[in-house]
Amino acid sequence: MKILVTVKRVPDTAAEKRLDPADKTLDRESVETIMNPVDEYAVEEALRLKEAAGGEVIVLCMGPASALPTIRKALSMGPDSAVHVHDDALHGSDVLGTAKVLAAAIRKVEPDLVVSGSESTDARTSLVASAVAEYLGWPGLIGAKQLEVDGGTVRIHRETETGYDVLEATGPAVVSVVKGINEPRYPSFKGIMAAKSRPVTDYGLADLEIDPGQAGAAGATCEVVDFTPRPPRQAGQVVKDSGDGAAALELAEFLASNKFI
């Protein structure tokens, strides 16, 4: 089975993220970056499927040349190879632009299954996997907390408000996985060394036969009008409990005066 797993380079979880006033896109250069945390679960899930059924795992990353360390990080967990889509014209891509490019790259790789993380920690839209599925004309199994492949059938458990649903589709399919679906492995030293020599194929927009005018900021279907930092919250009243928990009564009074009880 040929499994493609998407990864994204994002600002470190603890970093203060900001928009660049010049073009209103995320400033990715002035912050520490990491592989998007939930993508580690996606890579792990892809590796487990390969280990169970054989085949290969291919990493797909769309991002500037500086995203290469993210690709190496993913490869250090064990995938066989990677595809890196980068092109200056991709800067400023929105949800649909990103999905269109990923779908074009996926068509070239022709996998049996695409595994994605449920969202990235930067834009946090949780929209891209569904849009990729639509462009490919494939089923999208979104939000898997369990994944199994049984012949041509792809089956997931998806959390609901009251329990979970078992959903299945006929592959090829796009699956997005949630944090906690597995316990991602730590890259071994051997894995880190091996990752350096795993092949990474570079694609630009021309390779994907996408017109630069249809990609990036030029092809965007939405725009940021303006943005402002949120005014800082004012710290309110803080009371110190005397040790017997009696401050709870003051807190209850606060809740009651604000009509919460």
């Binding site: 834009a123 839209t125 999208g140 279907t221 939405c222 943005f227 949120r230 040790g243 209850a252 606060f254």
Partner: protein
Amino acid sequence: MASILVLVEHDQGNLRKVTAQMLTKARQLGEPVAVFVGDGLDSATEALGRYGAKTVYSATGEGWTNQLTLPVVDALEAAADRAEPAAVLVAATPGGKDAGVRLAARKGWGVLADVVDLDDNLVATQNVFGGATIVHSRVTAGTPVLTIKPNAFPVEESPAQPEVVDLGLTRQAGPADVRMTEHVVEERGGRPDVAEAEIVVSGGRGLQDPANFALVEALADALGAAVGASRAAVDAGWYPHQHQVGQTGKTVSPQLYVAVGISGAIQHRAGMQTSKTIVAVNKDGEAPIFSISDFGVVGDLFKVIPRLTEEVVKRKG
């Protein structure tokens, strides 16, 4: 007046709150038109009328029951083709987003995630980077598909008699269809979902032991709240992942957020700092959570929380 299409989120015809919230907003922007997919059309129609829906486009019966993605997208598309709306509103829930973005991709229409406000020109407000930045944005291609964050808009009734229009769609199974083979209901204590609850009580490392989440749950039940958890508590295996609030968990914006034994690291604040009111109980008076709290108690949560729960129960009578 241009219509505003609203995808109905419901459970067997029982509207979810976000549907009424979207209809209330839709009335300010144009003529609200609902799209209903699934079972329970009659009871849903009555409720949709209460919030001012002028038309209800329906796809119901065989093949439409489970509201799985593609049937919903097909129905939305058919309704949009008829109504030619100025905008399509879907809930920013997993199902709403999945269907909404597929409609957007199919039509080449722009889509915006997690909208918390809309002006008359359909310029949307979004809280990004965990609420640290407020963005105004708009769709520049096609009909805007706007995914609306639950609890972003208040609900007001405005009774109307909706005209029910069967979209007359027949559906044949296609290769991209998803099938539901099981719908499993688990005992969850009947608490609301953390992402949509009006009150969230969250526990963190200060609880010291997974068994102590019982204190958080008891307070949550007294308040009618959902239970959340910090990343530290979830990563330690004390509470399930789907309850995690923060940068790598859920972003919540309830009326009231109660942080119990949570220090308030930046990645946690990114998931809750847009809450209307924040209260915190923590033994460390220097904890950053107090700098964003409207009311804080520096004290031993094992003393404070049980007394608070008792007092809430007493006052609620």
